[in-house]
Amino acid sequence: MRRPTRRREGETGMSDQGSFYQRDRSWHPAALTPQYKTSVLRSPQYPLLSLDNTISEMTGPRFGHNRIGPLDNDLIRNFAKTGDPIGQRIIVYGRVLDENARPVPGALVEFWQANAGGRYRHRKETYLAAMDPNFGGCGRAITDEEGRYWFRTIKPGAYPWPNGVNDWRPAHIHFSIFGHAFAQRLITQMYFEGDPMIWQCPIVSTIPDKAGVEQLIAALDRNATLPMDSLAYKFDIVLRGRRSTMFENRMEGN
């Protein structure tokens, strides 16, 4: 290994932080997971082409706090027309961290979910559970300096879906997260502590490792509840981490 070199800001055209750790593909679901039938025709069959990050992947869009409205993280109020939506009132909070366990500030976190009966507000949704006129099901937040986000919502219901003749999704909230680089882009789902249906779900079971599934199960946090008002669930999200440049072995000319 060559001696670590220090570069002046702007000298080389790259950030003073290194490339991202290789994604652990054995921790994520494979593309082809036959128990989740839709994946069969939508999974690439050639191996992915491994590409050490270039500046195209190490940069990414940022979204300022001024993009976010005061009700964007309040799903109880941000679509309400005639009153509050039906359902168990909950708070979801947590931090966005990287694999180095450092907070990711300024991360845009978007979330969407079904209503308390398990029905989505979407033109292609056909489940017979009732729509809730006061629930839209979308929200967003930007993490603060310590990587924290939070929102208020109602607990989504479980629902049946066309896969097997009688498959059900456990209650869940979808998350989309932007870190600081396009290489960190991630979409995932949050599940709820204690739900037995988590372990029966063909989509959850695409995750190979039980510990990986457990990483997506939010913990009930009695200390963060609002007494006589809302339960609280803690859900931390981990994005890819990047190398420190201190010991990075750089090619000539870079």
Binding site: R25, T54, E57, N100, K124, H174, F182, R240
Partner: protein, 208 residues
Amino acid sequence: MVQKLATLKESPSQTAGPYIHIGATPNWVEITGVWEEDLGLVLIGPETKGEHIIIKGRVFDGSGTPLKDALIEIWQADADGLYNSPEEKRGKADPNFVGWGRQPTDGVTGEYRFETIKPGRVPYKDGRPMAPHITFWIVARGINIGLHTRLYFSDEEAANAECPVLARIEHKHRVQTLVATRGQENGLPTYTFDIHLQGEKETVFFDI
């Protein structure tokens, strides 16, 4: 037992599902009044520098059927090859160009469409110029982890021929899966970029 590393595991990916529009483009599915406009629909304004272009195409599954529930995000440099990102240290990108876009594929035809500008060249990690390209990220029901690929331009033959990333594709006939074809639409240069998730024409996807 040895000591534990102080690192965390990345949160495992889960599919975006069929209803990602509720969170990503709520106005597009008639969830109005929550926020004014969906993020990423508009990339350029009258002051944006560069050649105004249209990019369009469809995403096909292994049976040749276009996906009508996919969401595509793009990320690109400005006309001078600079990214509008705090991580960009080579210079200041065009303030009138964010470089990030997001569009659903149409619920009936499966077509997606972006209006943007043609990006300039940006350097590979060893300093050689890469050919102009746009990063694509595709998510949908049935896609367990978002797919990264790149669009290159059919009228950049010389640059494509020396691009160090395209050079890494072992099976040369597959390079063409990343090259969008230039045409014309309403007087604007239009590039058609179809993405094939499977089959003989399977697009090259990257593990970045």
